[in-house]
Symmetry: C2
């Protein structure tokens, strides 16, 4: 439909601009509270001395941008008001607000939502989807459209597995193998640092891919 | 806009039908995995001998309906495909599939989403919003539109508070007092049964309200 076509044209232009600037753009998506912001807070310092920038989308508040500001000064908050996902034109405005010279990674933290962001190209090069163990082991099957577009999947908050009786990691992997067999899966706990190395290695490999 | 107007006309008709049938309809909303289904699994048996029915919306699968079927035989699953919230016409079709005679409570478990369901009247009498402690203590401020429409707010999975360092319950209450000061807040752990009594009392009081 024409809204989507208009969005995708702007997204293609965003991507061209980012590629020309040597920036790898990563769209980070998940349900609300799966740990996107904490993951970025822990990832960005580990990528030093590579320069990182962040665009973060939320309905309201600048809370996530304030948190991310400690990891990198190059942060812009986008408030969507009632919009359930970022759009390519919003990202264009965000890019205009950032000094992208020398930036190697642009993380776009999308609005917390397991449905709407799946269909909206922002101009990113890679899509990363987070799902936390606290949400239950059936989310991949129940919200397949988001996982279908993922280039990588992160299973987050694995430090809490010990207290989640009834949770079966194998069900998550079974569903992933049916819905998206190409995406690598990284088990991480941003809170403790567990599992971050393979995730960082994958990220860095994307620059040359 | 006209899609919303059309939806609301159908919703009004759903509400009339439910009221005429003596059914209290409750729209249950939250992010993915906040515990809607488990709450209903534990609530419905506690309402016995009052008869309960459930309409449950998900993008895909019948997993939630299968779980709820042990609590009540009167369950219908609605799959939205890619829709980020239930609509009034979907609920009408769901009502047509249920035997509502003698049903006192109809729970409508909405699609897991903190944004889209806020604006869509389904024909319910009450709106209940869940937010789990594992999502973080800032979700009320970051997704205000959903909490604004709540008649009651449930803080879920409180049995896990002990392992969530950095979580501050008071921040949740501060944000609720700014965004929706009329809704009672119930702290519950469906897993252990903790806190269910006040929630059940509120539900039962809604029938006479
Ligand atoms: N135990 C544990 N908690 C975590 C971990 N990562 C994040 N959290 C907690 O989960 C909650 C949500 O984390 P955020 O980083 O704000 O999640 P988010 O996905 O950015 O949330 P939104 O942007 O609102 O969608 C916070 O209370 C975090 O402290 C983790 O690895 N382990
Ligand atoms: N510790 C704890 N875990 C809970 C509680 N309630 C739900 N859970 C767990 O949280 C996960 C999600 O629960 P569900 O009931 O499926 O959540 P939901 O909101 O219905 O999920 P969707 O319908 O997919 O949005 C499951 O692993 C549950 O066992 C609780 O009170 N305490
Ligand atoms: Mg965040
Ligand atoms: Mg459910």
């Amino acid at each position: 439909e024409s809204v989507l076509k208009a969005n995708d044209a702007v997204a293609a232009e965003n991507r061209r601009r980012l590629s020309a600037a040597g920036v790898l753009a990563v769209n980070v998506m998940s349900a609300p509270g799966s740990g996107k912001t904490l993951l970025l807070e822990r990832t960005i310092p580990r990528l030093a001395p590579e320069r990182c920038a962040v665009l973060v989308g939320d309905l309201q508040t600048t809370r996530d941008a304030e948190r991310l500001g400690s990891a990198t000064p190059l942060v812009t908050q986008i408030n969507t008001g009632t919009g359930c996902h970022l759009t390519a034109p919003q990202v264009t405005a965000g890019l205009d607000s950032l000094a992208l010279d020398g930036v190697r990674y642009l993380f776009i933290e999308n609005v917390g939502n397991m449905v709407c962001p799946a269909g909206f190209d922002l101009g990113e090069h890679r899509r990363v989807v987070l799902v936390s163990v606290t949400e239950g082991d059936d989310k991949v099957a129940k919200y397949p459209t988001l996982f279908q577009v993922a280039d990588a999947i992160l299973l987050t908050k694995v430090d809490l597995l010990g207290v989640l009786d009834g949770y079966r990691r194998e069900r998550v992997y079974e569903d992933i193998s049916r819905i998206n067999s190409r995406a690598p899966v990284f088990e991480v706990a941003a809170r403790t640092g567990q599992g971050l190395d393979p995730w960082l290695a994958w990220l860095q490999a994307q620059r040359s891919a």
